[in-house]
């Protein structure tokens, strides 16, 4: 089916999220919509899917004008969408999930399970999805859950499939399977709109690329363009995709975790005997698919989660019995994973957020009363050093963009005397400019001789920053490998394959993206 947008404009108050967007997706085409976080990609897709109604412009399907009053209309018209965060119910089976809302019924409204099951099997077989219709959603790996979402869309006869950041949660191997599926769908005539900010994938998968920046279409590109070309189109200026850094000069071990075991609230083991050593002047990245214990590792180190066994040692002191405040005061700088819930207090001013974990320390207070002028002065000084764009430091931090908020967090954590730096997803949701800045700052901190532990699910970030990489899978460290390890190897390790085996397997079988990388190099 041909999807065509003409002058679609969507405003929120005074903010124009989409400004006169023209877009044509031909039948059987994989069309990538490339743009930074906040560029307006998701808004546009939600408009196509009927979640928003545009202020201006038209949507045409096969040259016929359509208007949607809700996702129901869009589904009816043949548009399917797979959201970045899956809309699945964990305790439902695959069949139940797929038929939800569109249950086939027999007489007297009785649900026809056999028919629903048959439909799932039929679609699954047609595209070689390999999904068991009776499996429970919660038991499936993320990649399979995504396939269920795709089956869901196809079972409602989707002719245009929208995939919103589909690879964000996948290992490279799972991404590979997704690419295969997308190609099969293309062969069968389905049009695919594929939203992403990852340049590698776009080049490997897309037939056509549309770049969107600040709500406007800034250009079309072909997959033959180089990553640098695409990046500068996306950001609007020349960008360095890889941060320059000198090789690490690791000193002695500054921070280490030994046999660390952590249980979840429900008593499940979420960290299983984790051992990590980080030298002074070295960045160790923890890679892995989201939800494999990385969050818990960071929280356990800072003391937000208590460990049942093991030691956490910073410069020879065991931190395990300390509370959060004592650990921070003994020299841990911590950038939490979720900035808006754990990192900042939105209603507080920039100054207050800047002293959030030192408000009761010298020189900001005497222990009882705070010293607003001292706080403010320090905030002003550090804010200019970290290049935070803001009105004044007395504004609530919620008036700042995500990137600038993150810079405030970094300024807070790095402006005190730290002996170990821990950051979880330090660039999640940031624009390219801020990402560059954050990476540079972390490398500078390393070069000062601070041991750094960075948790990230983005392989781009990991390979950019890491001197060594620890890969986690289901609460276990699968292995620690050098920073320049091949992504295919990392991907296999992220799925739980042990180090040696991962190397062997990766040698035999390259992923599509891996091959594309090699081609680009030669």
């Amino acid at each position: 089916m041909k999807l065509q947008l003409k002058g679609v404009t969507k405003r929120f108050g005074t903010f124009t999220a989409n400004d006169r967007i023209d877009l044509t997706v031909q039948p059987g085409e994989i069309h990538a919509l490339l743009g930074e976080n906040g560029a307006g990609k998701s808004t546009l897709m939600n408009t196509i899917y009927g979640l928003y109604s545009p202020e201006e412009g038209e949507i045409l399907l096969d040259d016929k004008l359509v208007t949607f009053n809700g996702p129901g209309d869009a589904v009816e018209a043949g548009i399917g969408m797979v959201h970045q965060h899956f809309m699945l119910i964990p305790v439902f089976s695959v069949t139940e999930s797929v038929m939800l809302g569109y249950e086939p019924t027999r007489k007297a409204g009785i649900i026809d399970f056999a028919e629903a099951r048959r439909r799932v099997q039929e679609i699954s077989a047609r595209f070689g999805f390999d999904v068991d219709p009776d499996a429970m959603i919660e038991d499936l790996p993320v990649g399979a859950q995504q396939r269920v979402e795709i089956i869901k869309a196809l079972s409602r006869d989707a002719k245009v499939l929208i995939l919103d950041e589909p690879t964000a949660v996948l290992t490279p191997q799972e991404t590979d399977e997704l690419i295969t599926i997308m190609r099969q769908l293309r062969e069968s005539g389905t049009s695919i709109v594929f939203i992403t900010h990852k340049l590698r994938e776009v080049r490997a998968i897309a037939d056509k690329i549309t770049v969107i920046r600040r709500g406007k279409i800034v250009g079309q590109a072909l997959p033959e363009s180089t990553e640098t070309e695409l990046a500068s189109l996306m950001v609007g200026r020349e960008v360095n995709l890889t941060t320059q850094k000198e090789p690490a000069e690791p000193g002695d071990i500054g921070f280490s975790v030994k046999d660390l075991t952590v249980l979840s609230g429900a008593g499940k083991v979420v960290l299983d005997n984790v051992n990590l050593d980080i030298a002074r002047g070295e960045i160790l990245c923890v890679a892995g698919v989201d939800g494999n214990g990385q969050t818990e590792l960071a929280e356990a180190i800072v003391g937000l989660r208590s460990a049942v066994a093991g030691t956490i040692t910073l410069d020879g002191t065991n931190l395990r019995r300390m509370n959060v405040k004592e650990r921070l005061n003994s020299g841990i700088g911590f950038v939490p994973e979720d900035r808006s819930t754990d990192g900042v207090i939105p209603g507080f001013t920039v100054t207050e957020n800047f002293v959030l974990d030192q408000y009761d320390q010298q020189p900001y207070s005497n222990g009882v009363a705070m010293k607003p002028s001292v706080m403010r002065e320090a905030a002003v000084q550090q804010i200019s050093r970290f290049d935070v764009r803001l009105g004044t430091v007395d504004d609530p931090i919620s008036t700042l963009s995500g990137g600038n908020q993150q810079k405030v967090v970094l300024a807070r954590e790095m402006s005190r005397d730290i002996r170990f730096f821990l950051a979880s997803q330090p660039t999640r949701g940031l624009d390219v400019g801020s990402i560059e800045f954050v990476h540079r700052t972390i490398i500078e901190e390393r070069d000062k001789g601070t041991p750094c532990l960075i948790v990230s699910t983005e392989l781009d970030e990991v390979s950019n920053l890491a001197d060594r990489i620890a890969v986690m899978y289901r609460g276990v460290v699968v292995g620690v490998v050098p920073g320049d390890t091949d992504r295919d190897v990392l991907g296999l390790m992220m799925a739980g394959v042990p180090v040696e085996e991962a190397y062997a397997q990766a040698k035999d079988h390259h992923t599509i993206l891996g091959e594309a990388d090699e081609e680009a190099q030669t």
Binding site: F12, G13, T14, F15, A17, N37, G38, G40, S42, T43, N46, L51, Y52, S53, H85, V142, V169, S264, G265, A266, V270, D290, G291, T295, V302, L304, V324, K325, E326, R327, L328, F334, E337, S340, T341, D342, G343, V344, I345, P346, G347, F348, E352, L356, D357, Y359, D360, S365, G367, V368, A369, P372, G391, D395, S398, L400, S401, G402, G429, L430
Partner: protein, 436 residues
């Protein structure tokens, strides 16, 4: 994925989902209340006066009489209406601020002092509630904390024999302590077990009420030698001394209220403890991540808030009532919640709101006596004010004010929904409305 997992792990009280939902709505309402602008407050008072006027008209027999021949002589209706409203509201004003019809100058300024007398317990208890609101806690237990404060202050006031200054001081401290313990029970329970403070404080209100009723039946407690459920009057040495001599009831409690207002401002805006309070109120997760001991701060919020409510009860008893009876708290505890809401949980705002409510109460008495307008109108005024402050869009719609977000008035609710969804979707985008 990760958030899902987090929820599973960290929510042992899964069946409390509905309760949690209701609670977060309450929090939302409180936040909404404390963030709307001063203009809205003023306009709400205006609208409330209009609504009050309509009710006065509807119930006034003179006006009703003129409606009988409305079409014959509409002028009569409007003239009577105008006179009735003018008389009622001017009586309200004369009873609350300045009585220009009074015989002596003393009499003329007495209303404002009465207003302040009424305001003392409202301000003190309102501040206690406001501290809770600012810290994200809905302390509905003002009533119980006031009862405990008054009870402790009264007992110290008549059961001990102490020199003048020390006796008063001890009675006040005792009252504050009584309230602090009552608030502290809820605080410690919330901190240790996660018990919902709304439910606990409401229950503690009832316990306090019946505890007082029981105490008033105990001879060792009341020390009167009679069977009346009322305690002995407090000694002169424990009373809050008058400030303006005979004929006036205004007592040193007002100084206490002013001092408490300044103290609460300092506590919330300048002290490290207040920083912790505000932090856990705005975002407990970030507070915890920054190393703040959230349970300890939670307990302290309700202890200090309870202490202020207790002090309010003590000041009410030692300054105005002198004798402890079962109805000592009246509706003070609930009015204090309204005062804190109206004052946007800010110290100065709470002070002013306390004075306003004290004035409405003082003026209402005169209004009823002179014009026969039921004093219940005052309750209507109070309720309408709070209702409107809770719904700023309604006030803006009445006065055709622009939406502060800069968006045009949206005819459809869907748009609003869109906007919220978009804000979530556009999270990393640079916020456009830097200057609000």
């Amino acid at each position: 994925m990760s958030t899902e997992k987090k929820n599973n792990d960290d929510a042992p009280a899964a069946p409390g989902g509905a309760l949690k939902e209701a609670e977060s709505r309450l929090h939302y309402a409180v936040r909404e209340l404390s963030q709307s602008s001063w203009v809205i407050t003023l306009l709400s008072v205006v609208v409330a006066l209009v609504v009050g006027a309509l009710l006065i008209l509807a119930t006034n027999p003179q006006v009703q009489a003129t409606t009988g021949y409305f079409f014959a002589q509409p002028g009569d209706f409007f003239l009577t209406s105008f006179e009735v409203i003018r008389d009622a509201y001017s009586a309200l004003f004369r009873g609350a601020v300045y009585d220009w019809q009074a015989a002596t100058p003393d009499r003329a300024i007495r209303p404002i002092t009465e207003t302040l007398v009424n305001a003392v317990p409202l301000i003190l208890a309102g501040l206690g509630i406001a501290i809770g609101f600012r810290s994200g806690m809905l302390n509905i237990g003002g009533q119980g904390q006031i009862i405990l404060g008054a009870t402790c202050a009264a007992f110290i006031g008549y059961a001990f024999n102490l020199p003048v200054g020390a006796h008063l001081l001890l009675a006040l401290v005792g009252g504050a302590l009584g309230g602090a313990i009552w608030g502290g029970i809820a605080g410690v329970l919330k901190a240790k077990t996660g018990a919902n403070e709304v439910i606990v404080t409401i229950m503690l209100n009832n316990i306090a009420l019946y505890l007082l009723a029981w105490l008033l039946r105990q001879q060792w407690f009341v020390q009167t030698g009679s069977n009346q459920p009322i305690a002995a009057p407090v000694e002169d040495s424990a009373r809050l001394f008058g400030l303006l001599g005979t004929g006036f009831r205004l007592h040193a409690g007002i100084l206490l209220a002013i001092a408490a207002t300044v103290f609460v401002w300092w506590l919330l805006e300048r002290s490290t403890l207040g920083f912790e309070f505000r932090a856990i109120g705005e975002n407990p997760d970030a507070a915890r991540t920054a190393g703040i001991n959230v349970p300890k701060a939670t307990a302290l919020v309700l202890i200090i808030g309870g202490g202020l409510c207790g002090l309010g009860g003590a000041a009410h008893l030692l300054g105005t009532e002198y004798r402890l009876g079962a109805g000592i708290a009246g509706t003070l505890g609930f009015d204090a919640i309204t005062v804190a809401l109206l004052g946007r949980s800010k110290p100065l705002g709470t002070f002013l709101a306390g004075v306003l409510f004290g004035g409405l109460r003082a003026g209402g008495v005169l209004m009823q006596a002179q014009t026969g307008t039921p004093i219940d109108i005052v309750l209507v005024l109070q309720s309408v004010i709070v209702l409107l402050i809770a719904a700023p869009p309604l006030v803006r719609a009445i006065f055709f004010l622009p939406n502060p977000d800069g968006t045009a008035k949206s005819p459809r609710r869907r748009r609003l929904k869109d906007q919220q969804a978009a804000e979530a979707a556009q999270e990393p985008a640079p916020t456009q409305e830097v200057t609000k």
